[in-house]
């Protein structure tokens, strides 16, 4: 897998992410056409697949993948296209046109995220009330898995201690919101 691209996926660099999005977009829309979905539906699938790809990158699950980023992305997308088709109850023979494809794309199924529990939904409400700085630090730490030093660098804090203090302040505020 292309390490630079994986790195870009994990980043917050809008320009790089947009370049990556556009790099495969047209080809994916072309690839999806044979399944009789319109452009809007395919664009939605592409976005969903792209999000899934990024989540894998963030969770460090792309390191062991042998295939190229494109094959992997298209594989996820292909599975999602079939899901979309099943939902529409179209009796299309899915593989009937596959001989037209030069490169065989294998379907890749990813586990669906469980919906938020009641507690989590409530917590989310309070999370949204936090300031932007807090949300950023907590997101980088809890979801993106950056350690304190990495956060200091990524978010432009002077040093790790500032991040540490900021993080505990944010957690305190969050707990206060919950208990208020």
């Amino acid at each position: 897998m292309d390490n630079q691209a994986v790195e870009d996926l994990r980043s917050d660099d809008r320009l790089k992410l947009k370049a990556l999005y556009n790099q495969y977009r047209a080809e994916f829309l072309g690839f999806g056409k044979r399944y009789n979905l319109d452009q809007d539906a395919l664009a939605d699938v592409y976005q969903e697949a792209f999000l899934a790809l990024r989540k894998r990158a963030i969770n460090g699950k792309l390191g062991n993948i042998q295939s190229s980023l494109k094959t992997y992305l298209f594989g996820i997308g292909k599975h999602m296209i079939f899901d979309a088709l099943k939902e529409k109850n179209r009796n299309v023979s899915y593989e009937s046109n596959m001989h037209l494809v030069g490169e065989e794309i294998a379907e890749i199924e990813l586990d669906a995220m469980p919906p938020l529990t009641q507690e989590q939904s409530l917590l989310r409400k309070y999370f949204k009330e936090l300031g932007e700085k807090c949300r950023q630090v907590l997101t980088l730490f809890y979801y993106r898995g950056l350690n304190i030093e990495e956060i200091a660098q990524a978010a432009g804090y002077g040093n790790a201690n500032v991040v540490k203090a900021q993080k505990s302040r944010c957690l305190k505020t969050l707990r206060q919101l919950i208990n208020s």
Binding site: R14, L17, K18, Y21, N22, R25, D40, A41, A43, D44, Y46, Q47, F50, L51, R54, K55, E87, K88, N89, M113, L116, T117, E119, Q120, L123, R124, F127, K128, R135, L138, T139, F141, Y142, Y143, R144, G145, N147, L174
Partner: protein, 241 residues
Amino acid sequence: MERETLLEKYIQGELTEKEWREFDALLKEDSDFKSDVDFHTDLKRVAEAEDDDYFKEMLSDFEAEARTENSIKKRFPTKWLVAASIALIAGLAYFFTVDSSASTQDLFVSNFEPYRNVVHPIVRGEEGQTKKTNAFAAYQTGDYETALPLLDELYTNTKEPYYLFYRANALIELNRAKEAVPLLQQHLKTNDTLVKNSPWYLAMAYLQLDDKENAIKMLQEVIKNGKYKVEEAQKLLDALK
């Protein structure tokens, strides 16, 4: 090891085997520790959900931008496209260089496209006849005449700020930018996630109204925000000045 450190390592998936044993033991013995773990685990999931939503919006912006970029190219007469690329470049220059003859109307027409429905995706064949579905189905198919009164009503009933944004988009498309301006201004004061897109559409509304001064102000705002349609705003601004 300190509980705090143990917890943090757990959240970041970095516990060693020995630390796992310590962690498991604490989890069994200490109910306070357990509730701490639950809280941090929930927070991790919440941060993920929030970040995903943020990223989804970014992707839908990328998509909208890719479409406008393509459609600008498509709007040129075919014979120009067939002609030498020089003609194409000249054609693009017509819109995007310092061309004082480009009127605000021309610029409006070549830049405005109503924002995609990202609030309420419509799955075709799903005929749930709620008002919201009807409104967004009409919006999505370009039937703004039908969408508008439904969106008005939905806003009155729910006060969801995104309705302001979609109503404004429909109004601009129906050449009623004057009514769209106050809606977008109101939308800007909310904390709706679509707020980052509002300045661009406000600029579009001003262009339609031939109000160059305010259009420029809004485009500068778009560039300053650095989030949505930044490159487009810069090109437009150059063309306007």
